[in-house]
């Protein structure tokens, strides 16, 4: 089965998620530049989530570039990922509009954790589909960054209840390790020539 439509549908959903988040930036009353300051935490939470959703799109792009077959469970694993990603605008707004208090950061970290878990399951479904000895699975390698991120989110969520600022630092650190372009699949693709 061709992978084109699963990519196109995922691109569409992720494009909408990343864009409707900005609707939380409600236009303030007044026209002085000062009326924008109270929006700063919402803006920061938006920028952070934009980076996170961008990372997922980026990884989705790289992963599916190496994908050869798309079977039935892969479609559902992908929809499962999109479900948790679709909650990011809500948890981002909950955190940003309240100014990053403890509970809201914990909810945000749990959302991130579920996204990472869903991505992990998607990759498992793809590996099962291709076989452990396939080009796809070799290109993927040990997925160390994915497992590390998931662990970081599991840690960040409870920490947020007592020390939300530290939890945010952990979340930002996870974002940072992903922004550096992932060389796994690009390297594998280069080995096998242009496509």
């Amino acid at each position: 089965m061709t992978k084109g439509r699963i990519e196109a549908f995922s691109d569409g959903v992720i494009a909408i998620i990343i864009t409707i988040m900005v609707l939380e930036l409600k236009i303030p009353h007044g026209h002085e530049i000062g009326v924008l300051w109270p929006l700063l935490p919402i803006f920061l939470s938006y920028a952070l989530s934009f980076v996170f959703v961008g990372i997922y799109w980026n990884n989705h792009h790289h992963t599916f570039h190496a994908v050869k077959h798309v079977g039935g469970w892969v479609l559902w694993a992908n929809l499962h990922l999109l479900f948790w990603l679709s909650l990011i605008p809500f948890t981002t707004g909950f955190m940003g509009e309240n100014g990053f208090p403890a509970h809201t950061v914990a909810v945000y970290a749990v959302n991130m954790m579920m996204c990472a878990l869903a991505y992990f399951l998607l990759i498992r479904a793809l590996v099962a589909q291709h076989g452990v000895d396939s080009d796809f699975s070799r290109a993927l390698g040990s997925d160390r960054k994915g497992k590390l991120s998931l662990a970081a989110y599991v840690v960040a969520a409870p920490i947020a209840f007592v020390h939300p600022a530290l939890a945010m630092v952990i979340l930002a650190a996870v974002a940072l390790i992903w922004v550096v372009p992932d060389r796994r699949f690009t390297a594998a693709a280069a080995e096998h020539g242009p496509k």
Copy 2:
């Protein structure tokens, strides 16, 4: 006529439908985790509709994978399906925000019934286009699951007026029989080799 754009347009519309539903999850006042509980019925109705819309996308994907020609009435049958799907965010919110009372579940079931009917008509239009003896029609088979779902919705709508919980069980059961990957078209595609 190429089927690429009808797939791309449907992907776009379905991606938007599945994503704007989350806008019904309004950010609550307060920042304690407790303020999220009243949102639980809305969240559940969102998750259910996400699965339903995901099933339609999935089936659309499988069906059009086998499609060879796209004639004039197919475009309208497809738009007719998208129309009823586009009402799902409304009927989902009507049901979820009110906590699943009888009338709202009936309206939701009727929406589901119209979607199933529209899908049935789309498949009839495609069979008419390809001919009853075509590869497409053979791959489709008797469409037993489609007819069963339509019948279940017809039953669920009146039941909802007297026993909404039972109607919800019927709707959830229909979702379940579809989440298991549909082997019809994948099997047919496998027989004819990769494409």
Copy 3:
């Protein structure tokens, strides 16, 4: 220059326009089926606009199927069309929420007129690009339906001020003549074999 991206971008914009219109169907207070009746005019205006936008997508699909080259002005003529289409959710809501009074029907008819004019200009830009003797221009023919529609909208707008119901009948009649599949390009495509 390839036409793929102009099709994809137009599909995206039209998909969003056709879907966000449903956001005007605000979820009512109360959970009895009776609370939905006041939404009927909004629902009807939504259904009508869904058909109109569907017609534009359909025609766009057929027209670009025959297109060979996409030059600079075609991109702007296409964006100009998308601009007027993007106002349809607003004029639809203005008409539907107020229950189809005279002024709102006139504004809606003017919106429709500008869309038809923009489509006419897009087709002129495409004909200029391909040459009057091209396959594209021959497939297009005299564009009688396009010119007739434009004329009907020019007539409907002033009529709406004195007799909105008659203007609505004219608009609905225009929709009807387009819903019948356009055989111009499909016939021309069939002559030149599958593509």
Copy 4:
């Protein structure tokens, strides 16, 4: 790495940005044509931003048409551009709803400046990817219009604080020089034959 998905994702995000701006046109109370006049500044700011976003889509289309390779940093440079573009609905509404007072025009000009800067960085990343002696870099040329626009925005932002109307004239002039179709890449593509 294929450039198809980065184009598709950008098309999706830009399509959503250009379309959700119209949601700022809130349906007014009343059904006389006169209730629309107070919306005129919002409508004008929407039309202006529609043209600006259209220009970015247009340039993105032309630039990526000439692109051969898409490496890791290009993806992030592209997301960075989409981030600033995604703020346009907010800054447009802030300016339009208030009737173009000084501070809001300055904020809008800064948004435009950041978009132009992000586009400049995207083009740098693409040149670095392809090499200075590549077909891509030759097709791009000196990017005089891009640098001129960036300079104009840098000038317009401080001017807006003392003379918002003059700043708007500068912004409109920048739009005008871009609406004329860009012949750089089309000429280069023509030289190398159809693709």
